[in-house]
């Protein structure tokens, strides 16, 4: 119960912060953290794109938001996944799923369910990718995919609403800089 109230307050706070914040005209992938661990290099980033009421309406109508995320390094380790945000209309619950196409091949991981859209959105935007330790060059690309409207037997392109279709970022590791 308390957890639901806390989620509610957090959701409300994020709604207002989205409402007040200036809109992002173009999408970008912002690097939040770059960690070089013993065996892996971990990149934590945020996919930024414009969010507005129409986007909320689309998600609330059960139309999924899909990004194809490709990450690769100069060591040849690459990951291709489709990240989806969708809403269960009956339960008012938002789910985030990652369909890993490369290297595992169609492995679907569903993240935690959220009761508030903005909390789900925060999770949806956060990306964490790990690469082999020896890599010195990393690139992450995100492409907005058309969304299927299940009951109307068609798909729509949300890029007109969120203001971008494809964005990418690259990071050059310490070894390369040296």
């Amino acid at each position: 119960m308390l957890e639901n109230i806390a989620d509610g307050f957090l959701g409300l706070f994020m709604f207002f912060s989205h409402w007040l914040s200036p809109g992002v005209d173009r999408g970008e992938i912002r690097i939040e953290a770059f960690r070089e661990l013993k065996t892996r290099t971990v990149l934590e980033c945020v996919i930024l794109f414009e969010w507005n009421e129409r986007m909320s309406d689309l998600i609330d109508a059960g139309i999924p938001l899909r990004f194809r995320v490709l990450s690769y390094s100069d060591r040849g380790d690459s990951t291709l996944s489709v990240r989806t945000l969708f809403c269960d209309v009956g339960e008012y619950t938002y789910y985030i799923s990652d369909s890993l196409i490369i290297p595992a091949g169609d492995s679907v991981y569903v993240s935690k369910a959220h009761r508030q859209l903005y909390r789900a959105l925060r999770d949806y935007r956060n990306l964490r990718r790990s690469f082999t330790r020896s890599a010195s060059y990393f690139q992450i690309e995100a492409v907005l995919l058309p969304s299927r409207v299940s009951h109307l037997n068609r798909s729509i392109d949300m890029s007109d609403i969120c203001g971008c279709r494809r964005f990418a970022t690259r990071v050059i590791g310490k070894r390369r800089r040296q």
Binding site: D57, G90, S150, L152, I156
Partner: protein, 387 residues
């Protein structure tokens, strides 16, 4: 406005079509799309979701799944209406522009097909007007074909008319030559006739004619015969300018001899003197025409003043006491075959003007009301020097 006039028809049509498209087609489609969007949104029951959700609370199993699907369909329909309408609007605009471009190209093609033959026809008509024979291919159908046929007929008619005009022109030219010859031959004949009449008159009255007077009369007749001979020579070489034989001419003596040749029919008073380099025969012909003109107009007294003007040009001013020329006729007096006298040929002053121009002089005629005519001949200073 000038630019609009200079624009060709097809570009005018193009511009008008573009203006009409922007002015009408765009707002009209915007209006209909807005109406469509509003109608579609209004067609969805806003309470439907609440009803479905109420039913969902008590539902289980398949019924619950079905209700969930209904809610989802309801939401998707509602949220997609603006997107679908926007898509349809874009499609409609693209179709409108496509259709506009298609009809524009069609119109341009049709206009080109229409205007190009018209331009060719205009060029052909222009060349026909200049006397060229143009071959017009009558291949267009419809109204354009009728115009082409009309131009072909026009050309045929013009060829016929030109031939007729050529024949008539030749006839007219021969008539003119005959008139000019008659007029110019008549001029020297008048002094001859007057001289002979005087001798005949003397003889008729029983008066004797002195040798000196006889020689003078014969000399006068001889001079006029010379003029006649020269006239014949000039008519023989009709197409050429009169030949100018420059010699020193005593203006006063020349005017006096012309006045003498006119006999007593007109009294002449001469003042001043000057010598110019000119053709005495052409000058004599010139003055004879002037004297004869005054005589025919009804003058019986002529006063001549010879002098020089500010530019050192020799001026010979002739005043007569005739009725003068009305101001409204002054503009046309130098034109050939234009006469305001009952028995005039209309050639006298035209010949005078031509002779003055041949002798590189100038002539001015004024006719103050009730004061006869004043004619001023002016010969430039270079003609006064010995050559």
């Amino acid at each position: 406005m000038r630019l609009w006039r200079r624009l060709e028809l097809e570009w005018k049509v193009l511009l008008l079509a573009a203006v009409l498209f922007v002015a009408f087609a765009w707002p009209v489609q915007h209006f209909f799309i807005s109406r469509l969007s509003a109608t579609l949104i209004q067609s969805i029951d806003p309470n439907l979701e609440a009803t479905l959700r109420f039913a969902l609370h008590g539902a289980t199993g398949r019924q619950r799944d079905a209700l969930r699907e209904h809610i989802e369909r309801y939401r998707q329909t509602r949220v997609l209406i603006p997107i679908v309408v926007k898509e349809q609007q874009r499609l409609l605009i693209a179709l409108s522009i496509g259709l506009f471009a298609f009809f524009l190209l069609l119109a341009l093609w049709v206009l080109k097909r229409l205007t190009r033959p018209l331009k060719n026809l205009a060029g052909a008509v222009d060349r026909i007007g200049k006397g060229e024979t143009v071959r017009i291919a009558n291949v267009s159908g419809g109204a354009l074909g009728i115009v082409e046929q009309a131009v072909v007929n026009l050309q045929d008619e013009l060829v016929t008319l030109r031939e007729k005009a050529r024949v008539q022109g030749m006839e007219s030219a021969w008539k003119d030559i005959a008139r000019v010859m008659a007029h110019e031959i008549k001029n020297p004949l008048t002094p001859i006739r007057l001289t002979l009449d005087r001798i005949e008159e003397r003889a008729g009255c029983g008066q004797s004619v002195s040798n000196e007077e006889l020689i003078k009369s014969l000399s006068r007749i001889n001079t006029q015969v010379d003029i006649l001979e020269r006239l014949v020579d000039q008519f023989r070489s009709f197409s050429r300018e009169p030949e100018v034989r420059i010699a020193a001419v005593d203006c006063a003596a020349l005017v006096r001899s012309v006045a003498d040749s006119m006999g007593r029919s007109i009294t002449t008073e001469i003042k001043g003197a000057a010598t110019i380099q000119s053709d005495p025969y052409l000058l004599q012909q010139l003055f004879l025409n002037l004297w004869k003109n005054s005589l025919e107009a009804g003058a019986d007294r002529v006063r001549v003043v010879i002098g020089t003007d500010d530019t050192a040009a020799v001026t010979i001013t002739m005043f007569d006491n005739g009725p003068g020329i009305p101001p409204e006729h002054l503009e046309r007096i130098w034109l050939p075959y234009v006469t305001f006298k009952k028995k005039g040929s209309g050639l006298g002053l035209a010949v005078v003007k031509q002779l003055v121009e041949t002798l590189r002089g100038s002539i001015a005629l004024v006719s103050p009301p009730g004061q006869g005519v004043r004619i001023t001949l002016s010969f430039p200073p270079e003609l006064t020097r010995e050559t």
